[in-house]
């Protein structure tokens, strides 16, 4: 009798919790907390927020190279000066009109706060020529400047200044909890650690697809098992890219679709070139040759067609300036490894390598174990250390605290190789999460500078090709594999930008423009 009652209560509870949706809702998740302040945005979750709440002057062309006008209608280049004409009649979500002053305020705010991707705009001076015209002057030639503008979100300067205080002159408190953009989605609520809720902005300056979601819920820090079950039960729509391959596989087997985003980044196993024995190039080459590239690729396979990565051919992902052809895939070579090890000044038993992995990315633990086993075949000793992301970024600030081996997924934040490689290998940018190598090599510096200053695509290609060769020679990094981000999604949503190569943006996170998605239910 009691059991029947309980069952009835459960049924009642279930029945009561499934009313029809009044409006279409898209639910997705990210592992890290989303940073809503656009000047501080750097990782994937931040990018998703930024690209939807804010707009930029240009956006990458879908399905091809180059950039299209967005908040700007056109631009002119005159030496180191870029002049942009703004689109008429654009208003912020607050109702304030977009003016050149907003653009100037946005870049100055970013430079003043000095966080996130502000380093992209180091030597740039902005000026409002008139209400609708803004010019940028660069203090050194920078070929990918237009590309970098996809990382300059335009904020509502009037609204932010209204909410700034004497202690907080750039309105950081306000912008960390509220949106102030022109974007297709406005922030309804933002709970760090829990979720950000966004709603469609009816006043958006472009047409928004009718079927685009009315409401979007971006949840943070869900467990893989939770996401897996929620998607299977139809209560979640798009997973993060950090689900382990097995879970993606289980979802795909259960009928979920797999969305992909590729071509702008790779998995880099970074070697601290200042710490013995890895300060010796032969010791580094011994371990880069011992790494089992084939098994790593095998681990990434999700289905027969979809994989989390493709074989690496060198320091630059296939498809970018200076990359090697796909046929040059790197492979394990134990004979070469042994030969280099013989030249290495340190006995294998004395290596004592610290192999770190980022706690938020379970896949890296497996790669760490793979490396440990690979190196052990040469007799090289090592230990494994788990580092949460925040702690990792703190540790790499000094060469002594930086582990021997760090595993990083790096993407070109603007889609251009400069933003992928300059931060990693130029001697002027040591000690960030991108550069735990602490590489200091004049040849590499020269090639990087040439690449960013070159006027033509041919010259850039040549510069990055030389860079690639040099980076293979001195082996500061194990170039693990070219990254392809994979997301599992329910069939309630269709995302052309993440499933049709002709619609892809070639910029990480941009595929999550909600206005281009369609809810099919």
């Amino acid at each position: 009798m009691k059991r029947t009652l309980l069952a009835a209560a459960l049924l009642a509870a279930t029945a009561l919790t499934a009313p029809a949706y009044a409006q279409s809702v898209l639910r997705l998740d990210e592992v890290a907390v989303g940073e809503l302040d656009p000047a501080k945005a750097s990782d994937y979750a931040d990018s998703i927020l930024m690209f939807n709440v804010y707009d930029t002057l240009v956006i990458p062309t879908q399905g091809g190279p180059g950039h299209d006008p967005h908040l700007a209608t056109s631009w002119e280049v005159d030496g180191a000066t870029y002049t942009f004409t703004l689109r008429d009649g654009v208003t912020f979500q607050s109702g304030n009109p977009l003016t050149a002053a907003d653009v100037v305020y946005s870049i100055e705010r970013m430079q003043a706060l000095g966080q996130g991707l502000s380093y992209l705009f180091g030597g740039v001076t902005a000026e409002a020529v008139d209400d609708m015209t803004v010019s940028f002057t660069l203090d050194a030639p920078y070929a990918p400047f237009v590309a970098s503008l996809v990382r300059l979100p335009i904020v509502d300067s009037v609204l932010v200044q209204e909410n700034a205080t004497a202690d907080d002159e750039w309105g950081e408190t306000f912008l960390s909890a509220n949106g102030a953009g022109t974007g297709a989605y406005s922030v309804t609520s933002h709970n760090p650690q829990e979720e950000t809720v966004m709603a469609k902005n009816d006043g958006y300056f472009l047409e928004i697809n009718e079927a685009a979601p009315d409401q979007v819920r971006l949840r943070y820090g869900l467990e893989a098992a939770t996401v897996r079950t929620l998607i299977a039960q139809g209560e979640h729509d798009i997973s993060s890219q950090w689900l382990p391959p097995e879970v993606m596989q289980a979802l795909a087997n259960g009928g979920a679709q797999l969305l992909t985003e590729s071509g702008t980044g790779g998995f880099y196993v970074k070697l601290n070139t200042t710490k013995p024995p890895l300060d010796d190039v032969n010791c580094r080459l011994a371990i880069t040759n011992a790494f089992d590239y084939g098994t790593a690729i095998q681990m990434l396979a999700i289905t027969d067609d979809v994989s989390g990565g493709s074989p690496s051919t060198g320091a630059i992902p296939v498809g970018m300036f200076g990359s090697n052809p796909p046929s040059d895939a790197l492979a394990r070579d134990m004979d070469a490894a042994r030969a280099y090890l013989a030249e290495c000044g340190t006995a294998p038993g004395d290596f004592n390598l610290e192999i770190s992995w980022i706690a938020e990315v379970p896949l890296e633990e497996r790669l760490a174990l793979l490396m440990q086993a690979n190196f052990a075949e040469l007799g090289i000793s090592s230990s494994i250390e788990t580092l949460p992301w925040a702690l990792f970024t703190e540790r790499v600030a000094s060469p002594e605290n930086t582990p021997h081996i760090s595993q990083i997924f790096v993407n070109a934040v603007t889609g251009d190789p400069d933003t992928l490689l300059y931060g990693m290998y130029h001697s002027s940018t040591p000690g960030t999460w991108q550069s735990p190598e602490y590489l200091n090599d004049p040849e590499v510096d020269a090639a990087l500078d040439a690449g960013r200053q070159a006027a033509t695509d041919e010259a850039r290609e040549a510069a990055y090709s030389a860079l690639n060769d040099r980076l293979m020679e001195i082996a500061p990094t194990i170039y693990g594999f070219d990254r392809q981000s994979v997301f599992a999604a329910s069939d309630r949503v269709s995302v052309p930008a993440l499933s049709d190569p002709a619609m892809a943006f070639g910029l990480d996170g941009m595929g999550f423009s909600f206005r281009l998605m369609e809810m099919t239910e």
Binding site: P244, E246, E365, R366, L370, A373, S383, T386
Partner: protein, 277 residues
Amino acid sequence: MIRAFRILAANPLSLIGFILVVLIVFAAVFAPWIAPYPTHNGAVVDFLNNNRPPSAQNWMGTDLVGRDIFSRILYAYQISLGLGLVVLAIAPPVGTIVGLLAGYMGGWVETILMRLVDVFLSIPPLVLAIAMMGVLEPTLTNAMLAVTVMWWPWYARLVYSIARSEREEGYVLAAEVIGASSFHIAFREILPNCLPAILTKMTLDMGFVIIIASSLSFLGLGVQPPTPDLGSMVAEGARYLPDSWWLTVFPGLAILLVVFGFNLLGDGLREILGVDE
């Protein structure tokens, strides 16, 4: 001793506990000989055989890098039991000394020491250990340290309460009258009266220490890979529910089994030694 065993044997539950503990200790000590894949406690990967359900080759399946879960559980028992032994070798003596000093000396020594104990006891045990592990590097030694730091106050309080009541007993007064030193009275007269309670608590605590230690590693604050640890095996496997259930369920049951064994045994010992809960 023989009498103790006979009482144990008369109580089937305690006997089961005793057998469980003996079996697990045996399996842990002789893991290198018993484990079907003795190399799997360390840096071994076998991606051709990863994430396999239980089979004749791998009784409890394999984990995500292809290691035999049964073998790793046996090695993980070494870590759990070792940690328990170290904690119980340090915390009770420290707590006992503090408790004796406070209980026998009285006065400001008592006030200061017991307020200190109160401070430690007013943070839930696991929270204190988590906070400590949060600022320390996650290593086995630090995990032992964190658990020990949260553990000694319980012994201090136990010994203190016994010492305080014994302080008024005739034999202590008699010793004071003949001019015995405080040290002599505290350690030679009072301490022996605390021993049965301390010993019983230690047996019962073994299981509890294992639970706390596995909780720390469940949260990623304990032993680091590739060293096998029951708590981190459960945490790791939980990401792959419900498909790869064996990753979580077997290590979870392994914790249950060893702690259950110690609890059954401790429960029996309590009856034998006649100590109240």
